[in-house]
């Protein structure tokens, strides 16, 4: 009996330590470790560098986490980034005014997202297959637009936005954009009915449909938002490196997806928070930064990101299955005890 009680209390404790708390702990360890390992880690320059380096991935991860919460996925984000970057280069080369070019890129991104949404929602095609298709298609469009050339001479006032920091702080200007969007998404997901509906869709699609959630429209809007924000990430990338190329951001979808899953959004949908995703983005950013400071080669970074992606799902799965096995054993022991008691009678 007493053993049983301690069992439930540890279980309760385990449940109370949320994924976010764990991420915050890991983040603290990573910062501490980084500071101990490298003297340059806790400098202002390094931090503005660190934050700037993952801003595109961070931007893409925000709408992506909402998409994953509804049980879908978008693998085409990095291709939309490349497409938007290529269009920006092409328009700038054609002497189109920069504000108009930026607007057109965002519209193109939204249109690309609408294409995803249309195929997934209207034809009820699996989002995984559709976005693998648009991953190839949209990257292909980027190559059609720009071929293998590069556009580099962007106006300094815009590249200054890409590499500049907010005055008197170490926060890069593009990162401010991310902070604003993160707050918007946080409010949207956790403090509006839209957010509740998104969780409802991910939890049980049929139930959500029968309780009057217009899930087609919501999903469509999510994919459009994902396209537009990925295009925004493409614009940021272009200004940050002052370079527009068709292969910009190839493979970024891996990091974005890794951040979403590491942030505690489950593959089955219906679970996850914006706070968790932001924490996991920071964690990935810091790990990459510490490894780069330690002169670790780029290819090792790929291995680390891939492993983080797998570990972020493997670990919770292992914990859940151990817990389940433990529960079953407990139950069996109770049954055995009960059986022994009844035979003693």
């Amino acid at each position: 009996m007493s053993q049983n009680q301690t069992g439930t209390s540890t279980r309760r404790l385990a449940r109370r330590v949320s994924w976010e708390t764990m991420l915050a702990g890991l983040l603290a360890i990573a910062i501490l470790g980084g500071a101990l390992v490298n003297r340059d880690f806790l400098t202002v320059e390094n931090w503005s560098n660190l934050l700037a380096n993952f801003v595109e991935i961070a931007l893409m991860a925000l709408p992506l986490s909402l998409i994953v919460i509804t049980g879908e996925i978008d693998l085409s984000v990095a291709s939309i980034l490349g497409l938007s970057s290529s269009l920006l280069g092409l328009l700038w080369e054609a002497k189109v005014a920069m504000p108009l070019a930026i607007l057109l890129c965002l519209l193109l991104g939204a249109a690309a997202g609408a294409l995803n949404g249309f195929l997934i929602v209207r034809f009820r095609l699996p989002s995984l297959a559709v976005t693998i298709g648009t991953l190839a298609l949209l990257r292909g469009f980027a190559y059609i637009l720009l071929g293998d050339k590069a556009v580099a001479d962007f106006p300094p006032e815009y590249t200054a936005f890409g590499i500049g920091v907010i005055p008197f702080t170490f926060i890069p200007m593009p990162f401010a954009l991310f902070i604003i969007l993160a707050v918007v998404f946080w409010i949207l997901l956790h403090h509006t009915t839209v957010g509740r509906r998104l969780y409802a869709i991910g939890g049980n699609q049929t139930a959500a449909l029968f309780s009057g959630v217009d899930l087609k429209r919501l999903k469509m809007l999510l994919f459009i938002a994902s396209g537009a924000i990925s295009a925004l990430a493409g614009i940021v990338y272009t200004f940050r490196f002052s370079s527009s190329r068709a292969d910009n951001g190839t493979g970024f979808e891996l990091s974005a997806i890794a951040a979403v899953f590491l942030g505690g959004v489950t593959v089955q949908g219906g679970k996850g928070t914006v706070t968790g995703v932001v924490l996991s983005l920071l964690l990935i950013g810091i790990i990459n930064n510490v490894l780069t400071l330690a002169d670790v080669a780029n290819e090792i970074l790929r291995i680390v990101t891939g492993s983080l992606l797998i570990a972020s799902i493997l670990l919770p799965n292992l914990i859940a299955s151990t817990r389940e096995r433990w529960r079953v054993r407990q139950r069996l022991r109770e049954i055995a005890k009960f059986g022994a008691a009844s035979t003693a009678k």
């Binding site: 995984l128 297959a129 890794a258 291995i303």
Partner: protein, 343 residues
């Protein structure tokens, strides 16, 4: 009484009925498409059917077709394997270094080691998916980057050249038998084995069962985890063989070997009629899909379309194939619903 199979055909044998029958056999429509494409291109450029260009076409399609065999098994089970291109990269370079460091090593031993290495990498995927319960997409997206990253770290800018590879091994990619390259023969033999295995043997049918209804497959007593694990091991082993053949075909291998071909392979498989939702399709169809894609890209080259268009076309074809499959499945469902409403 109930409409029998024959009646259904008869009632549908109007003008459109013929088209229906044709659409239902994906293999037939693929052959027709390939024939039309070939005829049109040959009419525009007669060199398209020259022996040299035919041989190039066969060589180009062979390695993709080989990988398509493994991918078919995977997609039939409603899974996906994105990591094959990275496995090809590792095993291609591995085969090269074996020849480089052990002059005189028999080619068969090299091929066997490449297959084993592929099997091992496939087994990592298998363990994570079947026992770690991680969705295949996530696992293989992760290992796609992990394997490629490991490959870059290992290769470290080196390169294997044709001069380091014995001529007898390179002959796989150059010599022909009855006008067909040896490389293509290898793939054809494996195609026959896979076609028979998936059609006639219990294990093969289980792949279909898992894909069409996973729950029913469990209830039918199929060990689903073990089947899925075997599937990924097979896909890995096939990719290992493809890596060795990659070296034989191209002679030169660096860290980028095979990068990005997973998209071509998946597109070929799905265009070939293996539904991404699992349980439907044949390896013959999938290989015809690979052939169609290959003919299509040669057509683009012959019509002097810039090579930058290639990838966009591929993406569009994948989307079209998925949409077509969904449409056919939907119509099939509608039809059977009407049939059951009589009861």
């Amino acid at each position: 009484m109930f409409p029998t199979h024959k009646n259904e055909f008869k009632s549908g044998s109007t003008g459109l009925g013929w088209l229906n029958v044709f659409l239902r056999s994906r293999e037939a429509s693929l052959v027709l498409l390939i024939a039309v494409l070939t005829t049109v291109t040959t009419a525009l450029n007669p060199r398209f059917l020259s022996p040299q260009s035919l041989k190039d076409l066969m060589l180009n399609v062979s390695i993709i077709a080989l990988l398509v065999l493994g991918q078919t098994v995977i997609i039939l089970m409603r899974q996906i394997d994105l990591s094959i291109s990275s496995i090809v990269g590792i095993t291609a370079f591995l085969s090269g270094t074996l020849f480089l460091n052990h002059p005189g090593i028999p080619s068969l031993v090299v091929v066997a080691i490449a297959i084993l290495a592929g099997l091992l990498l496939g087994a990592i995927n298998a363990a994570l998916i079947a026992w770690g319960k991680i969705p295949a997409l996530i696992t293989t997206l992760g290992t796609l980057y992990i394997f490629r990253g490991a490959n870059y770290a290992w290769v470290h800018g080196r390169q294997v050249n044709a001069a380091n590879v014995p001529g007898s091994f390179l002959a796989i990619g150059t010599a022909t038998f009855l006008g067909i390259p040896i490389l293509t023969w290898i793939v054809l033999i494996l195609l026959v084995i896979f076609a028979i295995g998936l059609r006639q043997y219990r294990a093969g049918r289980e792949y279909y069962a898992i894909g069409s209804n996973p729950t029913a497959a469990v209830l039918a007593g199929i060990n689903v985890s073990r089947r899925i694990a075997t599937g990924f091991a097979i896909s890995g082993a096939i990719a290992g063989l493809a890596g060795a053949l990659w070296l034989a075909r191209f002679g030169t291998v660096d860290a980028t070997a095979g990068e990005g071909i997973e998209l071509t392979v998946i597109t070929s498989t799905v265009v070939g009629g293996v539904a991404i939702t699992g349980g439907v399709g044949t390896v013959v169809g999938a290989v015809l899909g690979a052939l169609l894609l290959s003919v299509f890209s040669s057509t683009l080259v012959f019509l002097r379309v810039p090579s930058f268009w290639q990838q966009a076309f591929q993406g569009a074809m994948l989307l079209l194939a998925i949409a077509l499959d969904a449409y056919l499945a939907h119509r099939h469902a509608m039809r059977s619903r009407v049939k059951w409403s009589h009861v």
